[in-house]
Chain length 333, copies 2
């Protein structure tokens, strides 16, 4: 939080640097989310697309292409593709999670209905697919189709893994790649591919997006147990109450004795929670150093993201990407 | 129904003719619906894929490729792609329609939950997309991404159009293309494209699939008002009770006077149905010749499908495709 006051946030600096490209991406998004026949589609999509997310994912694509010296038109298509895939998954997630709010506004499934969220999500996914076909790059199509499969697989895995104490760190990582990192890494990788960057750089861009996405999600999961509600907008213990097995708990479960395990089984697996359980859970997390270990892991992934950037050309965009990696973990540093 | 007893049904003859190819398609489907990490995926998918639909869509792709002399491996990928897209849309449709039964078995959303149906549908859609990327044909990707967008758009359109008396025959056709014809026409078209058939033949394959799909859906909508429950498995008037504005009603509404229009508005738009309404609806359909006009339209689309085949090489597969077009309308002939 200190960093916020120090200077303009790094993703805002990147947004300013990429302003022309992002304006073109926004035009393309608005053009392609239209539907001649079904006015419900732009209604639902506009609700979400205009809600003013940070557009971090499409920015990563433009940044990667810029960093690798691309001067063609297709990074715009790819950035819009990435945002459409992201928006489609948000629509479907809200149905799956039965959410009522997203970005401080009522969700589409609440304003319209689950049907509209499912079908408009499918429409956006198809539109994303059309946009990538227009780039004419089979390699880009391969990367984004693999990312889509990883996203869907991770989400299904989460359905069964989130309340199962056998879920270990490897499964957690798989879920996190599905939820967050797969689209981050595809976003950066396709920027390099469309620019025709050397393999080593393409790989480095993938690694940066992957590590950044993982760090991002671990920080989110950590703040749920250690955050300041005014800074995060989340109440401490939301994940616990919703019985989500995240990294801090996985680490504590791994070190638990029989009595502790019975506690986790009752509260997370069976969901029979009572007064005082959150406090006891927090005590167990502290007893086993689970919060500290989780924090160290987030920092390690952020360091990995920055290390990957070393393989890319020196460039002011590279510096901003490095600052973004620092910023993601600044809230826990 | 007479035709059923006359001889082996034409789609069964086609299945026998394409047996080797369909066996390869089934192997590929089973292989690709697996998930190393999320066992819920093959559970849900197997429930639907093994339920024994007719597999008409993948057969159309193999038939089109065979008819155009293809001898490569990728028609198998495309047939599996088409079946995956179909299965994904069924999973999502059952969530949208809150269905409890499909092909005489409980639906996946009932056996598992809506979440699994949404996310496994997304997974299958991604897997479909990976399969087509493997063919290396950008044209095939273009056709199938456009078909996917038409399907999703048609489904969204149906949400708003089905209970709106302003829905005319043009909108009905758009909905029907989304529900049925877009995947039929893409299935036949990509078979020709992968075989490198001349443009005229590719266009004819598209036209055949499009007209066949439309005929198929119109027959279904007609039988809902005129069918024999033992032959169709549907009760007369299901669409009326579910307030679905299908072609027979659209034709009757177009010829309605003020009093009739008020009746349709009350029963379909407002859903305030009472004893005797179905009988009155049937009387209005007869008064305006709506069933007869709908029947004529289905026959015209079947004839159009057969006419398209004339542009294709003489071949026993072509004869079977012609018989399938006849078979689709045999129940109303």
């Amino acid at each position: 939080m200190g960093l916020d006051q120090l200077a303009v946030r790094p993703h805002e600096r990147l947004a300013a640097y990429l302003a022309d490209g992002m304006a073109a991406v926004n035009v393309l998004i608005r053009e392609r989310m239209a539907s001649e026949h079904a006015p419900r589609i732009p209604e639902v999509t506009a609700h979400l697309v205009e809600a003013g997310g940070k557009r971090l994912r499409p920015m990563l694509t433009l940044a990667a292409a810029d960093l690798c010296g691309y001067d063609g038109p297709y990074h715009i298509h790819l950035a819009a593709t990435v945002e459409f895939i992201h928006t489609a998954t948000l629509l479907h997630d809200d149905v799956v999670d039965e959410s009522a709010q997203r970005r401080g506004r009522p969700t589409a499934n609440l304003l319209w209905d689950n049907k509209s969220s499912v079908l408009v999500g499918d429409y956006l996914f198809s539109r994303a697919f059309q946009l990538m076909v227009e780039t004419g790059s089979l390699r880009v199509l391969d990367i984004l189709s693999n990312a889509s499969a990883t996203i869907a697989e991770g989400e299904v895995l989460q359905l069964t893994a989130a309340q199962d104490l056998r879920t270990d760190e490897a499964i957690y990582l798989q879920v996190v790649r599905g939820k967050t990192a797969a689209l981050f890494s595809a976003a950066t990788e396709v920027g390099g591919v469309i620019a025709g960057a050397p393999e080593e750089q393409v790989r480095a861009l993938f690694d940066y997006g992957d590590a950044l996405g993982i760090a991002f999600q671990i920080v989110d999961d950590l703040l749920d147990y250690s955050g300041d509600v005014t800074a995060t907008g989340k109440n401490v213990g939301d994940d616990f109450r919703e019985r989500k097995l995240t990294l801090p708990v996985i680490k504590a479960v791994a070190k638990s004795d029989a009595e502790e395990r019975a506690f986790w089984s009752r509260t997370i697996e069976k969901g029979r929670q009572q007064e005082g359980d959150l406090e006891h859970a927090m005590a167990l997390l502290r007893r086993h150093g689970a919060l500290e270990a989780t924090r160290a892991e987030a920092l390690a992934w952020a360091a990995k993201a920055k290390a990957a950037l070393e393989l890319l050309p020196a460039h002011e965009v590279r510096d901003m990407l490095r600052d973004i990696a620092d910023y993601v973990v600044a809230r826990i540093s």
